[in-house]
């Protein structure tokens, strides 16, 4: 379980997050919805301890990680897999090397176990035959699946997705969303999805928090979003798009 408690964050004079509290239960999919540039990705980085808030606390499985040292955070971070918006694949490594990289780096696993897990993720992501290709030779959807495979290879409890369908064509988007849904049903994984696409929220999320002007203006089950009377939520529901 991940909890953000009264988080405030400033970059210089700009207040990014104001007293934000969010809870993500295990084995559920939580979406964080909001326009571009309001600090949604920042919330994911706070959950991983990649950045520190100015005030408030972040708990992962009940452990306060807010003031933890970087070296202590590494074990906490391995409970979560992160899929970056631009995938953040290592462009000089093949797909297999990308998938196995962190297993080789951080876990003292025997080579045959690393190879077994890599093969498992290649199959899961439907990338058989592409093992020795570089990321640049794959389509956007395939790269996203490699990034998801890399996040899954540690067998985390929770996966964090930063704009998982941004920049993808409709078919690839649908495949990625169905992959995310299957993670919970088949692997008992929880997920946090940061997105500005409201259709993605209704497709996969159990609950949604709406971030607007640095504040959470809605945090409830996805189906209850329609009941909200907040003008911003009414406007996005009517326009179905969040390019603000």
């Amino acid at each position: 379980m991940i909890e953000l408690e009264n988080i405030s964050l400033k970059y210089g004079d700009k207040e990014i997050l104001k007293n934000v509290s969010i809870t993500v239960q295990d084995n559920t999919i939580k979406a964080i919805l909001g326009p571009s540039g309001v600090g949604k990705s920042t919330i994911l980085k706070l959950m991983l301890g990649l950045i520190k808030p100015n005030s408030g606390k972040v708990f992962v499985d009940g452990t306060d990680i807010t003031s933890m040292k970087e070296t202590s955070l590494y074990n906490i971070r391995r409970k979560m897999g992160m899929v970056f918006q631009g995938n953040a694949l290592f462009d000089s490594m093949t797909i297999s090397q990308n998938l196995g990289f962190f297993l080789r780096e951080n876990l003292n696993l025997p080579l045959n176990e690393v190879n077994r897990r890599v093969a498992e993720q290649i199959q899961f992501a439907g990338l058989e035959g592409y093992e020795d290709q570089l990321p640049e030779s794959l389509s956007g959807g395939m790269r996203k699946r490699v990034a998801i495979g890399r996040a899954l290879i540690f067998k985390p409890h929770m996966i964090l997705f930063d704009e998982p369908t941004a920049g993808l064509d409709p078919v690839s988007s649908k495949k990625i969303l169905s992959l995310i849904s299957s993670l919970r049903h088949n692997n008992n994984l929880g997920a946090v999805i940061v997105t500005h696409i409201i259709d993605d929220v209704f497709s996969v999320a159990d609950s949604v928090a709406v971030l607007y002007q640095g504040e959470i203006i809605f945090d409830n089950e996805t189906k209850k979003l329609h009941e909200s009377q907040h003008p911003f939520i009414r406007s996005i529901l009517s326009d179905n798009i969040l390019e603000l």
Binding site: K45, L48, L50, E70, T71, Y74, N75, R77, R78, M80, G81, M82, F84, Q85, G86, A88, L89, F90, D91, F102, E105, N106, R150, F154
Partner: protein, 241 residues
């Protein structure tokens, strides 16, 4: 400044993990060591040859051409050899560090390392630092050798000076402090070039233009610091030996 200091401390503090990042270290020894040999040779040969020609012309006016070996060897070993090598490596090794790490920063690859539990400074900076600390020394030795050989060649073929006379004025007169000054600059330059360029790479923001800006900043700052350090290392050693 404070961030750079902490970054540097962390880079040194992770040196005990070198065994874990042995392969990265070996890659970096090739990049900053063997791959840098051509540029070091070119700069050393050009500086040795030019010094021999210019200093030889000057000494000839005073009838002191036999001192050519002494004059050029001190310049090559103590000052211009290490300095030019430092500037060349700042441009070659420093720019590579800045651009590579900057590109990794803006494409979130460095965040990915942290997110998946790998210390990016231990993985990316420390192997570069250790490789530079080790490889800059033989590069300076090579630079000294090539610089002196080219000076001797020019002394013989341009100034018609007997090689025996040239080398006789080199060896007996070179003092240990001449080598200390020159070789002490290797680790100092290695630390400056690696940490400044890597820090600027890690600080890259704002897309590909940001990578360009951080790379240029890394080269300019490290080159400036190499010039300043060159002066102070010489001053401190020569005043105390």
């Amino acid at each position: 400044m404070q961030d750079f200091f902490l970054f540097s401390v962390r880079a040194f503090a992770t040196i005990p993990k070198i065994k874990r990042y042995w392969r990265d270290f070996l890659d970096q020894t090739t990049i900053c060591g063997t791959d840098s040999i051509p540029i070091v040779l070119v700069s050393a040969i050009s500086i040795g040859s030019l010094l021999a020609i210019e200093v030889g012309n000057l000494l000839e006016d005073f009838g002191a051409k036999t001192m050519l070996g002494r004059s050029t060897s001190i310049s090559v070993i103590r000052e211009l050899g290490p300095l030019l090598m430092g500037l060349m490596l700042s441009a070659r090794f420093g720019s590579r560090n800045g651009a590579e790490l900057g590109a990794m920063q803006i494409s979130e690859q460095i965040d990915a390392l942290r997110a998946f539990g790998t210390d990016p400074i231990a993985k990316l900076v420390m192997p570069r630092l250790v490789a530079a600390l080790i490889m800059f020394l033989p590069l300076i030795a090579l630079s000294d050798f090539a610089g002196l050989q080219s000076a001797a060649y020019m002394a013989e073929h341009y100034h018609r000076l007997d090689p025996g006379i040239f080398w006789n004025s080199v060896y007996p007169r070179l003092a240990p402090k001449d080598f200390v000054v020159g070789f002490l600059k290797a680790p100092v330059f290695a630390i400056i070039i690696t940490l400044v360029s890597s820090f600027n790479g890690f600080s890259a923001r704002g897309g590909t233009a940001g990578v360009g800006r951080s790379t240029i900043k890394g080269i300019v700052v490290s080159s400036g610091l190499v010039l300043i350090a060159n002066f102070y290392v010489s001053k401190i050693v020569l005043e105390n030996m």
